[in-house]
Symmetry: C2
Subunit: 360 residues, 2 copies
DNA sequence: TCGCATAAAGTTATCGCTAACGCAACGCTC
DNA sequence: GAGCGTTGCGTTAGCGATAACTTTATGCGA
């Protein structure tokens, strides 16, 4: 295989000799070449069966030869609607929302809808800026993570007049349509699970960004449920940085130093739990015998680490697919509605206490 | 002939009373409200210091009150360029490209460039469709994973006349600018590492999609280097589906059944390796004593599983950042260039053979 | 006071496409 | 063969911004 790296971007141009200045072809140039009006070319694209087959074929050939790519800025400006769907997520790290985006975008593709992505990184100012930016492209719809947005964001989204799908969280007032689940219930389930398994001294650990409202809801659920059982969990969190194994390890060391009696740790994410378990190992604490660990997210590695991690599995692909469905439905005049998507507590070894000294 | 359109979208004028139908404000409506021409409002946005401060303030207030969001379809059509950057990736699962996208988009945001995302899922037909779709938005630049594209895609990208940044792979002819590394060298390094550690019977395992050219390059490097040492690796791959722990487990069982003598497994991705190690455990093979495992990707969990996984760590964030830099530079007239980004073989326990019976 | 540079706004002409309408040419019915 | 619906394509008028001018104040030196 010969690899030559000096490829001039432009010296291919086998058609137009004098292609010094690349001329991006327009509908009009296609029309001229074929000898019809621009509108006929437009029709050949949008409503092919209104154009004579023979003519249509000639038009298609011309478009192919000139490498015509329609200008959707013009199309969108002229027509009523674009085929953009704005997608706003709060994070792209790890697997948190990647697979939602994955299924969402591939489902939308079937309807010829194009994703415009924005990542707020849990920064509300950025969220406003990005939502504004996305709306300026006059998208057909917007899908956004969460239901807790700055007031201005809500105002903008509402006044845009397009379908707004809020994903991931459904516990609260919604702008239009929501698809997700109740995070407080997740926290409660985590607490219940640990208590049922005989754990008694709970800690919550992780990166709890101020604007990660979902994490706060889970924590609230955890506390509420624990208090019911007469337990007050220890909270150890960091604010600014995101979750990572290293953070988990650090927090595990810290929390067990300050509260040696802790026998169960709830992690804000699986990735943090990975580090927590490493930290526990370094401290000589056995999981699950000495300390139980439960997390949230069901990262792809959760079942592969030692011991396998008990965690919460949200059905991300379902959320992605249902969001795409909802977008299409709403665009076609369907009614707004809120859909709860199931999640599962996947009990693995990390919370499997051998002997339950006190029954749950 | 006088054409009279009964449904004047302008007869709301300033009578906001009858606001049953939401009216999306335009530059003109702001202008009217303030009592200036549309162009002045436009200037207040684009070149604020050409507008009297007092007037500018009134314009800003009006925009705020009406929740004005500029229509960039119009702006892009009229102006020379949009602030869209098309980003084309081959996968969104797991951590493969998520963090590239993450850094890329947040770096671009600093320059007010907006990401439009497309995911080809390793499907060349989809790649063509998506590239066409992205180009139809007249982006300022396109960043795309890989350097091996269908000819038509290359043709379209070249004839678009905008900067094209190819990411992740640099081993071959490039359209314009590339930022990545040589995957064949990665494969060679994997082989050398295993051989140096005393492993002698190598297997390559994973999902090897036909259009994942990078994986094939790594495999080629692996084979070439192994053959130099008189070793012929066993290849066991699946085509259609993507990599996952379950796949890894299945393949590990299979490969050790058919080739019991294997003492080292190279995995196409960390996620596959997670499953491979689980499979080995189930078979009673110790890692790294009986079988060494090396992978590619440096997933966030790689250092947390047991034993910690030896793997290749590409500098994704650097690639993301450099890609953003390159885009900005190229837009501002900089020259195309190819940049090699370092990767690292992170040696952990999964290839740490206690006794090296034969020196490397 | 005139002349001229400068500042601050208004005018006009696109950008490339689509929607709505216009209008031949044709086929069908009675 | 008059009437009328179809088919197939052309014409015209925007969509909402920006760029390039033009026009109208304003300041300032000679």
């Amino acid at each position: 295989m010969t690899i030559s790296t000096d490829s001039k971007p432009g010296d291919d141009a086998r058609g137009e000799k004098e292609n010094k200045e690349r001329v991006v072809p327009t509908l009009a140039s296609i029309a001229e070449r074929v000898g019809v009006s621009a509108n006929t070319v437009s029709r050949a694209l949008r409503a092919p069966n209104t154009v004579r087959p023979e003519l249509r074929k000639r038009i298609n050939i011309a478009m192919e030869e000139l490498n015509y790519v329609p200008n959707r800025l013009a199309g969108g400006l002229s027509g009523t609607r674009t085929d953009i769907v704005g997608v706003v997520v709060t994070s792209l790290y790890y697997s948190e929302f990647a697979s939602i985006i994955d299924t969402l975008q591939s489902s939308l593709l079937e309807h010829d809808l194009q994703v415009m992505l924005a990542n707020t990184r849990y920064n509300p100012d950025q969220e406003l800026k990005l939502v504004r930016s996305i709306l300026s492209w006059r998208p057909a719809a917007v899908a956004i993570i969460g239901i807790d947005h700055p007031p201005k964001v809500v105002e903008l989204l509402k006044s845009s007049g397009i379908p707004i799908i809020e994903m991931w969280d459904t516990s609260g007032p919604v702008i239009d349509t929501a698809i997700g689940f109740d995070h407080q219930a997740v926290g409660a389930a985590q607490a219940r699970h640990l208590i049922d398994r005989g754990y008694r001294t709970l800690a919550f650990v992780g990166s709890l960004r101020e604007n990660d409202r979902r994490a706060r809801k889970r924590l609230l659920g955890l506390e509420t449920e624990a208090v019911k059982a007469g337990i007050t969990p220890v909270i150890t969190c960091t604010e600014p940085i995101g979750g990572s194994p290293d953070l988990g390890e650090k927090l595990a060391l810290h929390v067990l130093q300050t509260h040696p009696g802790i026998d169960a740790i709830v992690c804000n994410s699986d990735v943090v739990a990975f580090g927590v378990m490493r930290g526990l190992r370094n401290l000589g604490r056995r999981v699950p015998e000495d300390v139980g660990v439960i997390a949230f997210g069901d990262n792809e590695a959760a079942a592969c680490i030692t011991p396998p991690l008990t965690t919460i599995r949200p059905d991300r692909e379902r959320i992605g697919r249902l969001t795409a469905d909802a977008i299409v439905a709403r665009i076609n005049g369907g009614e707004p509605q809120t859909t709860i998507v199931d999640w599962k507590l996947v009990a693995r070894e990390s919370t499997q206490r051998e002997a339950t000294d006190e029954g749950g």
